[in-house]
Symmetry: C2
């Protein structure tokens, strides 16, 4: 579980349920997730879960909202580093083969929930907000780098969308096919170099 | 249905079944697909489908193999154009908002089947071959461009992997969130420009 994502001993029932959802999702995956299985990770009665949520999808959509709220509150705290270093920190997180089995299980579950968004408007609405947030994060870093004279003058939003596409495409490939992440990272670096750092700026 | 993907009147039962699978997948999506529903698009008896395939996943894996074999046989026929034009042709296909509802339905079904690859080794094996083929196609175009003196000297395989990640990430986003494809294309062009065409080559 990402450190700090959930309190160790949540005082709110909702947070307790969402924490149990995280554990159940990593253990069973999206397709085999049931409220009963979430209940097995929940210290109180499973009936309390039914009291809060009408079903699995309502719960999962609230779970996804919680993750996004957490990211909105806690990302960007490495603003002390310069823009290029901040991109490197994100690349370090995405292009690593050394993920725990729990991280991989969670990434697999996210791939299923994204597939759900192909036919379910509420999931699509979530992933639209999700993608927008991460694109904006990347655009902010690029904008800072330009303002600090570190990067060439590109359109930060435009490049944020493409960088986000590479990163989300990488995470999708990592859990669905064999891909050489170090080669992919080398090219992502070369892209950043060519667009943001190359001579002639 | 992409023109030429299936013969108008297939003479082989396997091809008839796969053609019916394409239609049923576009109509019902992956999650709601059943052999019975495939049978409704199949001019012969549904029992013949069961005779050929043990179940939905065996049939779909054969369907995916057929698509890949078709791509292997028929892609790259635009080799008459120069390398940069060949990239543009691929960009035209991927970054278009003007897809038919059938094309979108098929792209949605592909997103589901890719999610299936997170937990099913046979699907993963397929998407590994699928991704490798499209990466190699892109690498071949880049290699040709370098040999013809049109592109700068980059590592064609490395850039092929990243370009494929942008294209597959774009198609995934198109069916799961709101994304501005024209902005994404503009940045893909800028990436190609900066890495392959910029001054100083």
């Amino acid at each position: 579980m990402p450190p700090g994502l959930f309190p160790e001993e949540p005082s709110e029932t909702r947070i307790e349920i969402l924490k149990a959802t995280y554990s159940a999702l990593c253990e069973h995956g999206y397709a085999d997730l049931t409220i009963e299985r979430i209940g097995q990770h929940f210290p109180k009665s499973t009936s309390l879960v039914y009291h809060h949520y009408e079903g699995k999808d309502e719960l999962l959509l609230d779970f996804l909202s919680y993750l996004l709220e957490d990211a909105e509150e806690n990302l960007g705290t490495d603003a002390a580093a310069n823009a290029h270093e901040r991109l490197q920190i994100i690349f370090d997180q995405v292009f690593t083969q050394e993920k725990s089995s729990e991280e991989i299980a969670f990434q697999q579950a996210m791939a299923w929930m994204r597939a759900q968004a192909t036919t379910d408007e509420e999931y699509r609405h979530h992933f639209t907000q999700h993608d927008r947030f991460f694109r904006d994060q990347l655009a902010d870093i690029i904008r800072d780098g330009i303002e600090e004279g570190e990067f060439k003058e590109v359109d930060p939003e435009q490049m944020g969308i493409a960088l986000h596409t590479i990163l989300s495409g990488t995470m999708a490939q990592q859990v669905t096919s064999d891909v050489d992440l170090s080669t992919l990272r080398a090219e992502a670096e070369a892209y950043v170099e060519a667009r943001l750092l190359a001579e002639g700026r």
